[in-house]
Every structure is written in C-alpha cells, then in structure tokens.
C-alpha cells in the first residue's frame, strides 16, 4: 500500500488521492492555446456549453414526455407546454438550442476549413469532429420525431424511406429501422431510446475524444504558424507573458470564451423568447396524421443542403433512375467533408485569404451550400428544380476539383518561392 501523510487541508486530502493539482495543470492552467486567435476559436466551448444546455433542458422534458403515439403530442403540447411550471421554457430552450447548435457546428466546421486546421497532424481532430456532426445529425433527427406532429411524422417517413434505395437489402432495412411496415408506435419508441440514451452517450464519448485529439497536434492559430509549444510555454511560465505565443486555457483563453459565450447566450435567449418559429416549425403543432400529407415536406434548415443534393437529381439519366442518382449524390455529400484532409493536396496551413486558389474555392463552396439550403426548402418545381439540379452538380464537381485546385496552388506557391531561394 502507498504511503500517505495526514492531510493538513481538504484540498491536500484530495490532492493526495486524486492528484488534483496535477490534473488542473494538465487540463487547465498549463494547457496551452495559441495567443493569435479570434472569437471563432470560442465556438468549441460554445458548442460544449450548448450541448450541456440541451442535456439539462432535455432531462426536464424527459420527466413528462410520453413516447407513445397516442400520448406524445399531448404530453408535449399540453402537459409540458401548459401544465408544468416553466415546461414551455425548457421546450423552447431545447428546440432553439437544437437549431443553434447546428449554426455553431457549421461556423466551427467552416472555420476549420478556412484556416486549414485539418491537415499536417490535425486529421484526427477533423475526423472526430465529422463523427460528432453525424452523431448530432442523428440526435436532431430522432429528437424531431418525438413531438409527433405532422412534420415529425412525415420527416420520419421520408427519411427512413431513403434507406429503401439501398440495393438488395433496402426494403427489409426500412422495415427493420421502423420496426413496422410504416412509421408507427414502434418507430417512435425506438427513436426515443436513440434520442435520450444511445446517441447522447455516443456524443459524450465523441466530445471527450475530440478534445483529446487536440492534445498532440495542438489548436491551430490565425496564421497557421507552427509553434514550439514547449518553448513558448516556458516563456509564459517564466513571466514573459507578452512575448510568449501561447496562453493557458485557464484563465486567459476562457476569459475570452466567456465573453463570446455571453454574447451568444444573449442571442440564444432572445430567440427562445421572441423568435422561436424558425426552430419550432409551426406545421409540427398539427398532430401527426398518416392520412394527410402536408403541402410541403422539408427537413429542418441544417439538413436542407444535403436534402437538396438528394432530390436535385429529379430525372433519369442514361438508364439510371433519378432516385438512385440522388441517393448516390446524397451519400457523397454525407462523407465528402470528412475527406477534406486528403482532398486538399497543398501542404500549406494558412488562412484561405493567403491561399490564392483555395480562397476562391472556399467562398464558392459557401455560396453553393447556401443556395442548396435555400432551394432545399422551396418547392422543387419549375426553375427551382433546375437550380437544385445544377447546384447539386456544382457541389459534387467542386469537391472533385479540390485535389486539382490545391495541387496547382501548391505548384504555384513553390515556384514563387524558388527564385529568391527563401525559406517559408
């Protein structure tokens, strides 16, 4: 047995047993972050905090929610919204939070792409982030079903139907996912389980893993500069704080984060109280009715771009059925972002505005995603269908072109350096 002295304080007592001082150093006061950052570097903590808000509000909702097709709608819209003290507040927070978490995920993700934070050792950060995106998407989709309104039902119907397009096993797979031949009580109950247990657990694990992946390659900075973290940390610890290129996670990095977080929360709660319809679709306040198809079926805004890629291919091409092409394109859209580290062939880690070709590529990508998002909601008729078709093609071509664009860029950068013989 290890030797233990009698502790002189409670802090020491814990320190002896848990090495709390060591832990705090490693996790906070000597966990180094680059100093050259802007507020976009706060998105990670905002996401962690928003997820916490979702868990807490979700726990309160879980106490009154009934996962049964006959009771679900009323348990949400009557019991929670009207009977339970501040139940409406928890639901609004949960609904708005679910939408905003995706806004921040996308900002976080595009920040990573803009600054090239997915390559040269940071591939695992990127991949674990993409895994979290998939998990959050599954979480959002399963949660959207629970109020059992018209959109819950029909979104569940349309999305589970997509799996029917998979060759050979498609039809059986749809039945297996739904637990019935149509979207039914069994579907609701299993998605309830996924939403409140399996996926949240996986997300918690995913977040821990995502944090861990940052440890070795470290957080990127605004210039993509390579930093000797040990040397810079030494400068900081020896009092040369202004010269050092790094700051500790606590309190310096967090001081900035808390400010950005406060601004975000102000926006969050403004929406929660005054402007919630964008996140809580009015159509979903009509009870689910399998015999009455809503005039327009669309997913929540954060799925619209990939939904539009799915339905953008609306006519058969060369013997291939439109639905099959759409499904392949949809599959492509789901995985292509995860491949960013290998599609970007340029070794340069720098913000896009310092990379001639990639800069154009990045902004075109943003514009195409926004077009896809907007047209993913509009009725796919007439011109809209063609805009969807061409922007889906543009989206695919854009990613197929990325290796070429970045290779050319690498060549250009290399040749522009050679004459002077300068080092980068």
């Amino acid at each position: 047995m290890a030797h233990f002295e009698k502790a002189r304080s409670l802090g020491e007592w814990f320190d002896q047993r848990l090495n709390t001082t060591g832990f705090i150093k490693v996790m906070m006061t000597e966990y180094w972050i680059p100093k050259d950052i802007n507020f976009l570097w706060a998105m990670g903590m905002i996401l962690a905090f928003t997820f916490k808000i979702l868990i807490i509000s979700g726990i309160f909702l879980l106490m009154y929610y009934k996962p049964d097709v006959d009771m679900a709608f009323d348990s949400v819209n009557y019991t929670i919204m009207q009977e339970v003290g501040y139940g409406w507040l928890f639901r609004h927070i949960h609904g708005v939070g679910a939408s905003l978490v995706f806004l921040i995920i996308y900002i976080h993700m595009f920040t990573g792409i803009y600054y090239g934070s997915y390559k040269k050792g940071r591939e695992m950060i990127w991949l674990s982030g993409m895994l979290l995106l998939i998990l959050f998407s599954a979480e959002a989709f399963s949660g959207y079903m629970l109020p059992w309104g018209q959109m819950s039902y029909w979104a569940a119907y349309v999305i589970t139907n997509i799996f029917g397009g998979i060759p050979v096993i498609g039809d059986e797979l749809v039945v297996w996912i739904r637990g019935n031949f149509y979207v039914a009580d069994s579907t609701l109950t299993r998605f309830f389980m996924l939403h409140v247990f399996l996926i949240p657990i996986a997300i918690l694990g995913g977040i821990a893993f995502h944090f861990y992946t940052l440890r070795i390659p470290h957080v990127n900075n605004q210039k993509g500069e390579e930093i000797d973290f040990e040397e810079e940390a030494n400068k900081y610890l020896t009092g040369r704080k202004k010269v050092s290129k790094v700051i500790p996670f606590w309190p310096v990095f967090m001081a900035k984060d808390v400010f950005v977080l406060s601004v975000f929360l102000f926006f969050f709660f403004y929406l929660t109280f005054y402007h919630f319809n964008f996140a809580m679709d009015p159509v979903n306040f009509d009870p689910a009715n399998g015999l009455k198809t809503p005039a327009h079926i669309y997913p929540e805004w954060y799925f619209l771009w990939s939904y539009e890629v799915l339905r953008g291919f609306f006519f058969d091409i060369g013997g291939l059925k439109a639905a099959d092409i759409g499904l392949v394109a949809f599959g492509f859209a789901q995985i292509i972002f995860a491949l960013m580290p290998w599609l970007d062939k340029s070794p340069t880690v720098a913000p896009a505005n310092q990379r001639p070709y990639f800069n154009a590529w990045f902004w075109i990508m943003i514009v195409i995603l926004i077009i896809l998002t907007i047209y993913g909601k509009l009725p796919p008729t007439g011109t809209n269908a063609w805009v969807g078709f061409y922007s889906s093609i543009a989206f695919i071509l854009l990613f197929l072109a990325l290796p070429i664009v970045t290779m050319k860029e690498a060549e250009k950068t290399a040749s522009s350096i050679k004459p002077t013989g300068g080092k980068h």
Partner: protein
C-alpha cells in the same frame, strides 16, 4: 477591428440563409392574400339599403326560424332534441341568441337569404344534387330579412367572453381539447372531413394567417368544406384571443420573464468583457 469584420461576414451569410429558409420560403408557401374584409363587400347590400322593423322581425323569426333553432335568451327552446337533429341533419342547428352580436349584420342578412352563397360553399352544395342543411330564404324581401337581423341584434347580449364567442362561432364543428370543449355535432359526414381540433392552431397557423383564414377560408384553402362564417371584426378578435389563451397560454409569462433573462445576460456580457480585458492586458 478584424474580429468585427469576421463577425460581419458571418452575420451576413447567416442572415442570407435565414432570409431564404424563412421569409422567402414562407412567402412562397403562403402567397399573399388580400387583408380580411369585415364588410364582406362581395355580398349584396341588404341592411344598408333597406329599413327594418324589429317587431316584424320577431314575428318573421317565430314563423320561419324556431322550427329548427332555439333562442335561449328569449326562452324559446328547440322543437327537436339535439340527438334527433344530429341523426337527421348531421348537425344541430345553432342557438340564435348571440347571432346579432357576433355576425356582421349584412353578412347575416345574406346568409339568411342564401346560406351557401354567403358561406362560399357553392362548390360543395350545388342545390341540385346536394343541399345545404339550411334552406334559402331568397323568397323573402330584403326588408323582411333586414327586420329579422334587426330583431337578432335587439335580443343579443351586449358582451360575451372570448370562450362564449368561440363556442357559438366555432364550437359546433371544432373541438378544443385543451379546454375540454367538445363539438356538439359530428359533422364528418356532412362535411366530408373531420374539422381539426383547434387547441394548438394558434401555434401551427399563427395569428396573422388566422386573421384572413377565419374571415374567408377559401382564400388560403381553396375548396375547403369550412364555410365562411361571417364574424364581425370584434368577434373574430375574441376568437383569436381565445385560441391564444388556450394554445399559447404561457405567452404572458414568456414575455414577462424575457426582459429579466436578457437583462441578466446583457450584464454578463458587460462583466465578462471587463474580465477579458483585465486578463488579456497581462498577455498582450
């Protein structure tokens, strides 16, 4: 400065996306319709062009209406009991006590004269194969019809609660489950579809849509079996208020606590900015 620029760029792209998926999409899903017309200008001017006589109206009412309708506040009860009426007609004819208060006068006159026309249900009841439950009174003179309307107005109460207006105006067909209001007739057979429960309609349609929809259902839902009911402006306001009291019962609470929460968060922004400056002054 640089951070403000980044913030501006993100705000811009977020707002463009928001504009596309919300205002733009909704303007396409729900094309603009003319504002509610509480004068019902498409109908013949009856009450404005004729004189009326309340006493005559009373006499005409007792000759023509009370065979089917009750007028409870005049002590006139229905000649048929509810169940028999429902079995025979599918619906229970409404009590007429409050008609003079909640319906627009000229609309009411037109409804008596041509129920299907005033209700805009010609596509459902062609008068050849399918007849509306209430017959036309187009054989009556406009002046007589006006007199009956005047009589209804003379006996109507001066004020009703929001819920009472709802029950008289909507409650014969629609349920309001969250206030335990049950429609007194099952009109599924007569109408061809079941009128929806209205408990959450204020959240699913919103005040703005309901304003024009209740005033003229065909505007938004061409071909619907719901008749234009002819509520006057104040009665319709009361109905919408009631829908809000039930479907969005925590609105007042929501709006009351919002300033405190936002005030606190505004304070947080201020304090955290001071803290950030203090901490960063050491390193930058």
């Amino acid at each position: 400065m640089k951070e403000l620029k980044i913030f501006g760029v993100i705000t811009f792209f977020t707002l463009v996306t928001y504009w596309g998926v919300e205002p733009l999409a909704h303007s396409i899903f729900h094309p603009h319709v003319e504002p509610a017309d509480f004068q019902f200008k498409d109908l013949e001017a009856i009450t404005t062009t004729t004189n009326s006589d309340v006493a005559k109206g009373k006499e005409l009412t007792s000759q023509n209406c009370i065979g089917c309708h009750s007028i409870n506040n005049e002590g006139i009860s229905a000649q048929v009991d509810k169940q028999t009426a429902i079995d025979n007609y599918g619906v229970f004819p409404p009590d007429l006590s409050t008609a003079g208060l909640i319906y627009e006068s000229n609309y009411l006159a037109n409804f008596i004269k041509h129920p299907v026309k005033a209700g805009k249900l010609e596509h459902k009841y062609d008068g050849v194969n399918k007849f509306y439950i209430m017959p036309d009174y187009s054989w009556m003179s406009n002046e007589d019809i006006h007199s009956m309307v005047a009589y209804f107005k003379s006996i109507a109460p001066t004020k009703l609660t929001n819920k009472e207006v709802f029950i008289d105006a909507c409650g014969r067909c629609h349920n309001m489950k969250y206030d335990k209001v049950k429609a007194d007739s099952d009109v599924t057979k007569v109408m061809g579809s079941t009128p929806p429960d209205l408990s959450m309609i204020i959240r699913s349609r919103g005040e703005h849509y309901l304003e024009t929809f209740i005033n003229d259902p065909q505007k938004h839902l061409k071909g619907t079996a719901m008749l234009r009911i002819g509520l006057n402006e104040s009665a319709q306001k009361q109905v919408i208020k009631y829908l809000e009291e039930i479907g969005d019962s925590k609105k007042a609470e929501r709006e009351a606590i919002a300033p405190y929460v936002l005030g606190f968060l505004g304070f947080m922004i201020f304090v955290s900015l001071l803290w950030k400056r203090e901490v960063w002054s050491e390193v930058k």
